[in-house]
């Protein structure tokens, strides 16, 4: 049988640097497309002015109504006290969770016996929905800022602590051998092996914590408050002002995304030593 050569199909290399406009990023294009599709459908279904008005506006509101409510409450300044109140609860509560949760996690991971003492308690509290503790916290701390800070702290601390402890224990034994081989003191082992090895775990805990803290803010404001985004949502819900309810939800979502990105920036800073993923 005679061998035959077949020419390979050739295509030109696309060069991303040519052309006046930067090449659009597929991720951005399709992301925006999805956004437009959802909002457009929503508006079409619910708005009586710009759409079909198939659903009562009190149930689903509509993108234009929400925008309207947002502009009204921002320009009148009515929304700011709520944002500030929630912000305070978040900053103090989550800050306290960081300052206590990370050292606690490091200590539990480092001191075996401390782990034996605390582990049953942590597991039990970790498994309990913290929301169930809110009535008790209100009983003890009242309904002021203090009580909410405690709720936020409680919501966030466990995931931070547990993740940090996991990180300390996950440090490869090989690195401990090396440190020991060079006669590192306990403190040097902690500083040069334990801490760097657990940073990714700590940051994972912190990121999960940001979400939980936000839940803490909202839930505690639902139950007892006279200001805050959660209070704003609950209040407007009872007035059947669904546009404002949605505005509050969007504020929370935006806050959540911002915090997530903030953690990502910190993670990047610590990730110099790892091969870039994606």
């Amino acid at each position: 049988m005679a061998a035959q050569t077949v020419p390979l199909k050739r295509t030109a290399h696309p060069n991303p640097k040519t052309g006046f406009w930067p090449r659009p990023n597929e991720r951005v294009v399709f992301g925006l497309l999805g956004f437009v599709l959802v909002l457009g459908t929503w508006e079409l279904v619910s708005s009586s002015e710009y759409g079909l008005g198939l659903v009562k506006r009190v149930l689903l509101s509509s993108p234009t109504l929400i925008l309207d409510a947002a502009i009204t409450d921002i320009s009148s300044g009515a929304i700011w006290p709520h944002i500030i109140e929630s912000g305070k609860e978040y900053v103090f509560g989550f800050g306290a969770a960081l300052v206590t949760g990370i050292p606690l996690g490091l200590a539990i991971g480092w001191f075996r016996r401390l782990n034996y003492v605390l582990d049953p308690w942590l597991s039990a509290i970790y498994a309990t929905p913290t929301v169930a503790l809110i009535p008790l916290i209100i009983l003890i701390f009242g309904i002021d800022l203090g009580a909410k800070i405690v709720v936020v702290w409680l919501e966030a601390i466990f995931v931070i602590t547990v993740s940090t402890t996991t990180g300390v224990k996950a440090a490869d034994a090989k690195y401990h051998d090396i440190a020991e081989s060079f006669r590192a003191s306990n403190w040097t082992v902690f500083r040069t092996v334990t801490l760097p090895a657990s940073v990714p775990y700590i940051l994972t805990g912190v990121r999960l914590g940001t979400g939980r803290a936000l839940v803490g803010v909202v839930v505690s404001e639902f139950l007892a408050a006279n200001a805050g985004i959660g209070f704003y949502i609950a209040l407007n819900g009872s007035f059947f002002s669904s546009a404002r309810v949605f505005f509050g939800i969007i504020l929370l979502g935006a806050l959540g995304i911002t915090l997530g990105e903030l953690v990502r920036v910190v993670e990047k800073r610590f990730d110099r030593w790892r091969p870039a993923i994606s």
């Binding site: 051998d177 090396i178 081989s181 060079f182 040069t192 790892r274 091969p275």
Partner: protein, 266 residues
């Protein structure tokens, strides 16, 4: 220096691993005697799991519960010994210079000074220009150069090397063997080198110690009288091949396929 000083003297060294839960004991090394002179390059070869790493860890002080006697020469400066670990033993979160300076950091030397003192060794192993890179940015061979520099930085009398080239590809491995001989000559160290490659052991060493399967005992102590400096082509000389055959015939009976390669035997 007096003509022959002893750098390491191990007598009847024996070691058991103990299972922490069942307390079952596993004899890893049985009655090992080994004497190494200052400046000598000695290799240990033996089947996987025979206790080579264990012996090195004992010498390095990582396994203090051994039986027997070990004495090492305490030099006027630097350390008695330092370990070059198996592959990817650099701290991934430190730059190359911080990794190389690690031993000094452990001695409490301030960062700036430690880095400055690490520089000559980075140069010696041929890593100039890579100081600020992270380990993942280096090839396996370069990582092992840094690993070697880290041990050299604390100025040890004996370099303990545990299969440092095992993970490298064949060509890089040969290159690193030649490099190691150059550095050994330049740094004037005693080397205790572990490998399971017979030709590597012969090429590098003044003496090759052959160990039995577990529990590890010394089967033979073979002098390698090949002239130095050695070029890589010496591996094809009749004397080299004869030594290889001799060591092979000692090791082959030790290789039974039921021997666990790694892990704890119950």
């Amino acid at each position: 220096m007096t003509d022959t000083q002893i750098a390491l003297d191990a007598r009847a060294v024996q070691f058991y691993y103990e299972d922490p839960t069942t307390h079952e004991r596993l004899l890893a090394i049985e009655k090992m005697d080994l004497e190494i002179n200052v400046g000598e390059f000695v290799s240990i070869v033996g089947p996987s799991g025979c206790g080579k790493s264990t012996f090195l860890k004992i010498v390095n002080g990582l396994l203090p519960t051994y039986d027997g006697e070990i004495s090492v020469l305490e030099p006027d400066h630097g350390r008695a010994h330092a370990m070059v670990f198996q592959d990817s033993a650099l701290f991934p979160w430190y730059s190359i210079v911080s990794n190389v300076a690690y031993g000094l950091t452990c001695q409490g030397v301030p960062k700036k000074e430690a880095h400055a003192r690490a520089m000559p060794f980075i140069e010696m192993v041929g890593l100039t220009g890579f100081e600020t890179k992270y380990p993942y940015q280096l090839s396996g061979g370069m990582q092992q150069r840094a690993n070697l520099a880290r041990a050299l930085t604390v100025d040890p009398e004996i370099l303990l090397m545990d299969e440092p080239f095992a993970a490298l590809d064949a060509q890089t491995r040969e290159l690193m063997q030649a490099e190691l001989l150059r550095i050994w000559h330049q740094a004037q160290k005693t080397v205790l080198f572990i490998t399971h490659q017979i030709d590597e052991a012969i090429y590098l060493s003044d003496r090759v110690i052959v160990m039995s399967a577990r529990p590890g005992r010394i089967l033979a102590d073979i002098r390698v009288d090949l002239p130095r400096p050695r070029e890589l082509k010496i591996k094809r000389s009749p004397a080299f091949v004869a030594l290889t055959d001799q060591i092979w015939s000692l090791i082959t009976p030790q290789l039974h396929d039921d021997a666990p390669a790694t892990g704890v035997a119950s």
